[in-house]
Subunit: 220 residues, 2 copies
Amino acid sequence: MSMNIGFVLFPNLTQLDFTGPLQVLHRLPGSAVHILAATRDAVPSDCNLGLVPTHSFAESPQLDLICVPGGGGVLGAMQDQAVLDFVSRQAPGARYVTSVCTGAFVLGRAGLLQNRRATTHWAYTDLLPLVGATYEPARVVRDGHVITAGGVTSGIDFALTLVAEIAGPDVAQSIQLSIEYDPAPPFAAGHPDRAPEAAKRLVAPRFETARANYRKVLEG
Amino acid sequence: MSMNIGFVLFPNLTQLDFTGPLQVLHRLPGSAVHILAATRDAVPSDCNLGLVPTHSFAESPQLDLICVPGGGGVLGAMQDQAVLDFVSRQAPGARYVTSVCTGAFVLGRAGLLQNRRATTHWAYTDLLPLVGATYEPARVVRDGHVITAGGVTSGIDFALTLVAEIAGPDVAQSIQLSIEYDPAPPFAAGHPDRAPEAAKRLVAPRFETARANYRKVLEG
């Protein structure tokens, strides 16, 4: 089995949306990981960290698995014809079309979430109908060959789920063991259903602005 | 409050050891994140991903928090005088001296774990006495200003713990919420105490070789 896996980068992505699943999928036996962007120049992420692509979009082979991460930069990526063209061109030949976090809206703008059940970062789930999708409340949602994950760290759960499907549970469990993914968060605050009000108030302004900007693009 | 946070990169690090805590600590209010390496050239990680430093070691300010990630490249980093000198020079002025995964052995080779309780990736815990440390079985271990985390993904729990200490639980919980860190691993296989035998057998060869190489350097 050989599997071409490709991650789509764009400026100001949330780097953990990408680096979490990258760590897992890179260990999938027989896979070749491609890190793709408009050019081979380092792509600035949200964390002061530049990420170096392995190939430009033009140099990419046909992918078996395409994964679009999310983050603040999705606002630009949703309006970037180079990104949308690449995703649209790759999707019909891919065995899996996937996203993490608000990467779902890049898939959506490329027309790939029409009549699909999907998820995204919790703060943006009500915008999914604007790309023709129905929100399903789960950390990883599968509808046919389209798999979407919730916010940021859900990309790790998503990638392990995918490895189990592709290579079987033994392999997925061995990767989980190798990255000591035995989570012990110091708080139970990772979802609005569980987070204390103080934490919700602190993040509210960040997401209100972002949501309004997303809505403008998606309705525009 | 202003806090200089620095991550120490070296070739062939496990990128998620670094990118997990980076995502969390970058959102600590008043912090400035520095991504440090011998030079400003992109540093190759274990996943085909090049990581671009913000500063060379020589350009780094005095850090308040220094964090050393782990991975296969630790074998080289433990023998790299530029890395060891940088860590040794920064540690006395830092409020927190920290590691994720086998980054503990870089701290150890710089003499910073003598008579400390510490942890590291589960496959390497029995080597901690070779750098003068005592293994404490926990995902995050604190001994004075030295904080060590277990393997790879434990860096996320570690970083949230640190944020809670530095900025309080409300801030830590708001960051946890913003990265939707509400983990739901598809299996309970993230630690040898819980992983099935088949998963353990699959990872054994990888770690046996690495452990033997570490031991050679640490005893040499």
